[in-house]
Symmetry: C2
Subunit: 208 residues, 2 copies
DNA sequence: AATTGTGAACCTCTTCACAGCT
DNA sequence: AGCTGTGAAGAGGTTCACAATT
């Protein structure tokens, strides 16, 4: 199959969420026009995105909400559950553990890791904090496939390299720094300060 | 001036951060090639990004680190401080208040707002939680220009519309839902579940 | 009559390649 | 000799427009 762009993938995830809401409201059918209105994009964009994966609609009618939801669910790899490791148990890490929306039905934090000796061995909920050295074996026993990295910026690259050696192929990075993906590792970053600075750029340039 | 793409703005923010680190290390000069290595992108990308704003380098030499840092600092609107309002004081909101990297030198949370009557009037640090109804007047007195929205998804659009009416032009949205920007309002979103689902998509499709 | 699915056109972003400076 | 700045080429993403289908 032709490589699908990242833009398409992120939009699919949004469609997935919107379809879930429509489904809960008992709506049976949605057209690309209606969904586009919800998403704030064009109908063609939606049709094009879906076309990479098949033909899910009925001409003259639209898409069956339940069917399309299920289809995207499967495309996104959500037919299975995913076990996460959280690396770096500071304020942000703790907030993520408690953050309700984060503990989605498909994602479960199964492993806590920190390098601070004072933290190692202590518990949060029913999870014990482990040292980085144990990562390789714990990744196997806990069947971890995604690591969430909330360590300080200066340690992020090093930690991600270690994760890669331990067999982790996907990382969600919260450290506000550029990290270079090791071979075969997917990294996505959430970087609040970049977002804020993008806003100040626009505010600043808009008032000139 | 020609409209600058969002990609360029986000990269400038990254260059800014890298230059800060180089500056602290006492490095005087950096070439586009060297900076590109740090950022994991091409040298032409960096030169092109900078070219939208002027010519800051010396041919045959490279860029003066301090000078380029200062220039980007100014482009990004960081010559001034920015006052933020935090709307929605749940777990995530509290984490953001405490999150050290968030309290950058240029950004300061000055106003807390929530709609829960039990929370209104209580304090976090030296800030009191105010009701949404007082927003309009408080935005003025506290000189707020950016709102950070950490309310539940179902309230996000409504809250953002109210923020817009109160004169807010820039929003950083953490609610995991699509929001349509009111006229003249810049919105940027951090959406952890989209990032995670992008990762599961890649993990899933990579193993086929 | 309405809406999908899609090739083609269009637009935007990235990379190339080289003239111009230091 | 080395590196920037930039027009042109290339790659990639979005929108158009219309035939196909219900």
């Amino acid at each position: 199959m032709k490589r699908i762009s990242d833009y398409t993938i992120q939009r699919l995830s949004k469609y997935h969420r919107s379809l879930e809401i429509l489904e809960k409201r008992g709506i049976n059918t949605v057209s690309s026009k209606e969904l586009a209105k919800i998403e704030g994009i064009t109908p063609s964009q939606i049709r094009k995105d879906l076309s990479f994966f098949g033909s899910f609609g009925k001409r003259g009618v639209g898409y069956n909400v339940i069917e399309l939801h299920r289809k995207i669910h499967s495309i996104m790899g959500l037919d299975q559950d995913w076990n996460l490791a959280l690396i770096g148990i500071g304020n942000l890490g703790k907030a993520l553990i408690e953050y309700h929306s984060f503990v989605n039905i498909n994602f479960r934090i199964r492993l806590l890791v920190d390098s601070n000796k004072k933290k190692i061995g202590t518990k949060i909920g029913d999870l014990t904090i482990h040292p980085l050295e144990k990562l390789k074996s714990l990744v196997k026993t806990e069947k971890i496939s995604i690591a969430v990295v909330t360590v300080p910026s200066e340690n992020a690259q090093k930690v991600i390299n270690i994760l890669s050696e331990a067999g982790i192929k996907a990382v969600l990075n919260f450290a506000p720094t550029t990290v270079i993906p090791p071979d075969g590792v997917f990294i996505r970053s959430e970087d609040t300060s970049i977002q804020l600075e993008a806003l100040t750029y626009y505010l600043n340039s808009h008032n000139v």
